[in-house]
């Protein structure tokens, strides 16, 4: 079927098999490869993207389900062009919220979705909100610290 999705602000349309998963559409048709296929069973969260602003696991959605809707991957978070980072990305860098980096795109987008719903989370709320994202380097402390930093900067901004 023909699927048209606004990916990081740009329309992407492609004829794909009905069974195409969103994460494959993003990686192969839209060329946005930040969303990783990790467990492929909706457990690990490495494929997390924003669908109409809310975090979802792109390995467990059909591209057809996102037809006509807006998807943001990590590539689309920062304003284009000038090298600036989104505040959550900047906080991950400042707090060293990554080790190997494989889970990072999903972690960042899960954090962006959390902060949209709850701009001032407690540490416990951050940890609960990350229950669908697994870091196999087990670098959770700095990830949580980064999200709390981003939230704090959001409040003071």
């Amino acid at each position: 079927m023909k699927v048209s999705i606004t990916v990081n602000g740009s329309p992407v349309a492609a004829e794909v098999p009905d069974r195409t998963l969103l994460v494959h559409f993003l990686r192969e048709q839209a060329g946005q490869t930040a969303a990783n296929v990790g467990c492929d069973t909706s457990s690990c969260g490495a494929c997390t993207v924003l669908l109409d602003g809310r975090s979802v696991k792109a390995c467990t959605l059909l591209a057809a389900q996102a037809d006509g809707r807006e998807v943001v991957t990590l590539e689309g978070l920062a304003p284009p062009g000038n090298g600036a980072m989104h505040p959550v990305q900047a906080a991950f860098q400042a707090e060293h919220g990554l080790q190997c980096g494989f889970c990072t795109p999903g972690m960042v987008l899960a954090a962006v979705s959390l902060l949209a719903e709850n701009p001032a989370p407690t540490e416990a709320e951050v940890r609960t909100a990350l229950e669908g994202n697994i870091c196999r380097c087990t670098g959770y402390h700095n990830i949580v610290r980064a999200i709390l930093t981003a939230a704090g900067e959001g409040r003071s901004a």
Partner: protein
């Protein structure tokens, strides 16, 4: 992993969804959030020939106070259930349990109607529907009917739905007794419950203690005859047929059921 090939069709109204499903026949499945169905399709445990996507039917996404009843549209997501102030006030068991399902990403997609229709005994909401004595409003080729939750779950992934029938609404009588509790035990936060318990008043329902979600009849009988929560909880495994799998033996599940029912009844007693 990708699912086996199927034909995708999108419905823009309930009537169209029923029509598409009727034309596609017995190998059609409705797709709502997809978070129960798509994982099974990726494992090729489900191989429908046609998917009728009902995910755009906003007409089925609502929570309404209708006097003695709360009516919940079948496409209301777990996230919406968990955040709805009316539910927190009137049906706290449903709001709380919905907020414990999976993880935020799953709750943004999964729907109450999808979870109930899937009929997975390891899912949380079927037990909640039993504890709340919910009624499911179902539309199909033969018209509209209501099915009590107690009559809905018939076996492993089996329900009373006939081919082509769609759950459109779930109705809950406002509980006369506020006492409620929900407990589940998982290895990781996002996992299906190894065992779970939903309590509302004198009704106690179990997650993953049989091939279908079930009421803990022996516990309910003990409570009705004046047993303490601890005494009643000792009956939690009676009448169950818990599965044994990689996560737990049957004996361990029976142990968990007694412990969790005890905790749940104690929680419920603290919310008289």
């Amino acid at each position: 992993m990708i699912p086996a090939s199927f034909t995708y069709q999108r419905a823009l109204s309930v009537d169209e969804a029923l029509d598409l499903a009727a034309k596609a026949g017995e190998d059609a499945k409705f797709l709502a959030g997809g978070h129960s169905l798509l994982p099974l399709m990726k494992l090729r445990l489900a191989v429908p020939e046609t998917l009728v996507d009902i995910g755009r039917l906003r007409e089925l996404s609502y929570i309404r106070d209708e006097g003695d009843d709360i009516a919940v549209g079948a496409l209301t997501t777990h996230d919406e259930l968990s955040r709805a102030e009316m539910l927190t006030r009137e049906l706290p068991l449903l709001a709380f349990a919905a907020g414990q399902i999976g993880d935020p990403q799953v709750r943004h997609c999964g729907t109450i109607g999808g979870s109930l229709s899937h009929g997975d005994p390891a899912a949380d909401l079927p037990a909640v529907a039993l504890a709340l004595a919910a009624r499911l409003v179902v539309r199909g080729p033969a018209g509209t009917r209501q099915i009590a939750a107690a009559d809905f779950f018939s076996g492993l992934f089996e329900t009373a739905l006939e081919p082509g029938e769609l759950v459109t609404e779930i109705r809950f009588a406002k509980p006369g007794r506020p006492a409620w509790a929900f407990q589940k035990f998982t290895k990781r936060a996002i996992d299906w419950a190894i065992v779970g318990v939903a309590v509302q008043g004198g009704r106690v329902a179990l997650v993953n203690m049989g091939s279908a979600p079930l009421r803990a009849a022996a516990v309910e009988a003990a409570l009705a005859s004046g047993a303490t929560p601890a005494e009643a909880a000792s009956h939690a495994a009676e009448g169950t047929s818990a599965p044994a799998d990689l996560n737990a033996s049957r004996a361990y599940r029976e142990h968990l059921a007694r412990v969790l029912v005890g905790r749940a009844l104690s929680d419920a007693a603290s919310r008289p």
